[in-house]
């Protein structure tokens, strides 16, 4: 009895982690065998970025039960701060420690933004977070288009005025041109590691005292308070952690680009909504589902490129099918019954 309740969650988590590892191994082997063309190869890092973003947003939407419409904003903050760090330290550090620290910087800076947004907004009950994150995402994107950071001698100067850029010796963030020449450090393996760590952290959180408190708030705030759970504290924990993960994903993203520009397509509202689509189609609250949805919806347009414009039609059909598969109670029960890890467990009993 006791054992079963412990292992049920553990086995489910194991299935999620196994899925990611198998996916990574399969892609690596396929690449060795020359089965992956350059087009698909170029998609591998973004795939990890999007899957990590889906894990991050699922923590807020599916597990905490709050709506964030500006998650691309956290990714943007992480991307720019990490790229900035790499540019500044490029001459003085080796690739490995530099990239490691850059990812950390991206995560921490995004986490600080998440924390600062959370302090006033997560105290309130209602849909305020959706409104504020929506604004945050747009504001960050616009600020990154007018932010100039450069070196004057040995010191670093900031400005929101393009004329200031004239006086700077060396530009690091160049307004609408963004950051160019960020070291090209991101690899599929690093992306895989970031995704894996994010998933392990989130799953370990969910299956713990703090994770249960977070889900209790989602399911019934008043009841959670009645059993002594400090609601704001756990909302802050979930939201800040989610921002940290998004920042790390952004750092990865930035080191995969020749030039990092805050275009609407990259960090705007549409991107935030795309992440939300991953979470919703993956079956809100399911980390594994979010990852699967992110992978499928990122690959489809590329895999179907050969049929031209019809691919968006297929894309739509696949979205509808995924929605039905993940949300229909019967198909959910079917998937549950055919989960290989669950099955083994039943046989054991």
């Amino acid at each position: 009895m006791k054992k079963r309740t412990l292992t049920k969650a553990t086995k489910d988590n194991f299935a999620t982690i196994a899925m990611i590892v198998v996916l990574y191994a399969a892609v690596t082997i396929a690449a060795q065998a020359g089965l992956i063309n350059s087009h698909l190869g170029g998609l591998l890092v973004p795939l990890c970025v999007y899957a990590t973003m889906a894990v991050s947003l699922n923590l807020v939407v599916g597990i905490l039960g709050e709506l964030s419409l500006g998650h691309a904003g956290f990714m943007c903050v992480g991307a720019f701060s990490a790229a900035f760090f790499s540019k500044v330290t490029e001459a003085s550090m080796n690739t490995f420690p530099r990239f490691f620290l850059a990812i950390l910087v991206g995560g921490i800076v995004a986490g600080i933004f998440g924390f600062l947004i959370g302090i006033p907004v997560l105290r309130l009950n209602g849909d305020y977070l959706a409104i504020v994150t929506l604004a945050f995402g747009e504001i960050i994107k616009n600020i990154m288009n007018v932010l100039y950071v450069g070196k004057v001698g040995n010191s670093i100067r900031f400005s929101l005025d393009s004329s200031a850029a004239m006086d700077m010796d060396e530009m690091i963030i160049n307004g609408p041109q963004g950051i160019t020449g960020t070291p090209y450090d991101a690899t599929f393996t690093v992306g895989f590691i970031i995704l894996l760590i994010s998933v392990i952290v989130v799953l370990n959180l969910v299956n713990s005292r703090s994770g249960r408190a977070i889900m209790a708030i989602r399911d019934n705030r008043i009841a959670a308070e009645s059993v002594g759970i400090r609601v704001t504290r756990y909302k802050m924990l979930a939201f800040t952690l989610s921002a940290v993960i998004a920042g790390c994903a952004g750092a990865l993203y930035a080191h995969n680009l020749a030039s990092l520009i805050a275009t609407p397509a990259r960090f705007g509202y549409n991107m935030s909504i795309l992440f939300l689509v991953f979470v919703v189609l993956g079956g809100i609250g399911s980390t594994r589902g979010s990852i699967i949805a992110a992978v499928i919806l990122t690959l489809i347009p590329e895999v179907l490129r050969f049929i031209g414009d019809y691919r968006m039609l297929i894309y739509a059909v696949i979205m509808i099918v995924m929605m039905i598969v993940n949300w229909n109670p019967k198909s959910r029960a079917f998937i549950e019954a055919h989960n290989p890890f669950r099955k083994k467990e039943k046989e054991v009993q």
Partner: protein, 255 residues
């Protein structure tokens, strides 16, 4: 010293004085009944005692400690736990997890211990599981530990709410119509459960109830509310014999 002392409690909603001049003294170990017609203000009294509503006037003391105006979380930590008339379970979580959430403050460990899966995580979780199952056994819910709480039948959901409240290790347990929607068998079982937690945990209970048989069977003392005011207070038998109570409370049936 009384466990709970309420003096001159009142709350105003716009023009409506939902509870007025409410006084209550409950001794340790007592099972006290709060009755009255629908809309009398019984649930509002619970919301005031648990800090859900802030009183317009009055003082609430638990174990001699003034808890008036404190937050729900602080009041729970001070020792008051409750159930809800309109059931409020953590619906997407298992029966066991619902009770473990009740144990939140009894078995603390840092979040980092969970994320890095340190020994303290495994140790505390194990103790937590054992304690939660022990509580579920009291309410004969241990077989359903893995069931989604929203899939439980109605009567068992009410019992799970009591188990969850008990998990916070309260000094005073507030039960808001625990027998509502239960069949006679389930009500019988509930009465046994209540007797059990009084006996084994020495629990002090304040009970809102509509089922007169239940009230008469187990409550030693009663307060009768009507339109937010106290109509009668005292020993159960005497209160129920009071003609005003009969008129106000049982009157609806005779109309």
């Amino acid at each position: 010293m009384a466990l709970l002392e309420v003096r001159n409690l009142a709350i105003q909603f716009g023009g409506l004085r939902a509870v007025d001049d409410f006084e209550l003294t409950i001794e340790k170990g007592q099972l006290y009944g709060l009755i009255g017609p629908n809309g009398a203000g019984k649930t509002t009294v619970f919301n005031l005692l648990t800090g859900e509503y802030k009183p317009t006037e009055g003082i609430i003391k638990l174990d001699g400690q003034d808890i008036t105006g404190r937050s729900t979380v602080e009041i729970n930590r001070a020792g008051i736990a409750r159930t809800f008339q309109n059931i409020r379970l953590f619906k997407q979580l298992s029966v066991l997890d619902n009770v473990k959430i009740g144990l939140h403050n009894q078995y603390p460990y840092p979040t980092a211990a969970a994320i890095f899966r340190l020994p303290s995580y495994f140790k505390t979780e194990k103790a937590m599981n054992e304690k939660a199952l022990e509580l579920l056994k009291v309410f004969h819910l241990e077989e359903e530990a893995d069931t989604l709480s929203s899939n439980l039948p109605y009567g068992k959901q009410r019992k799970l709410e009591i188990a969850r409240a008990m998990a916070t290790n309260p000094k005073l347990l507030l039960l808001d119509e625990p027998a509502a929607g239960m069949n006679p068998n389930e009500t019988e079982e509930l009465m046994e459960n209540i007797a059990y937690i009084r006996e084994h945990f020495g629990m002090t209970i304040l009970l809102i109830e509509h089922d007169m048989k239940l009230v008469f069977g187990i409550c030693e003392e009663l307060t009768v509310l009507n339109f937010g005011r106290t109509l009668a207070q005292g020993e159960t038998r005497e209160v129920l014999a009071n003609p005003e109570v009969i008129k106000a409370y049982l009157g609806d049936d005779e109309d």
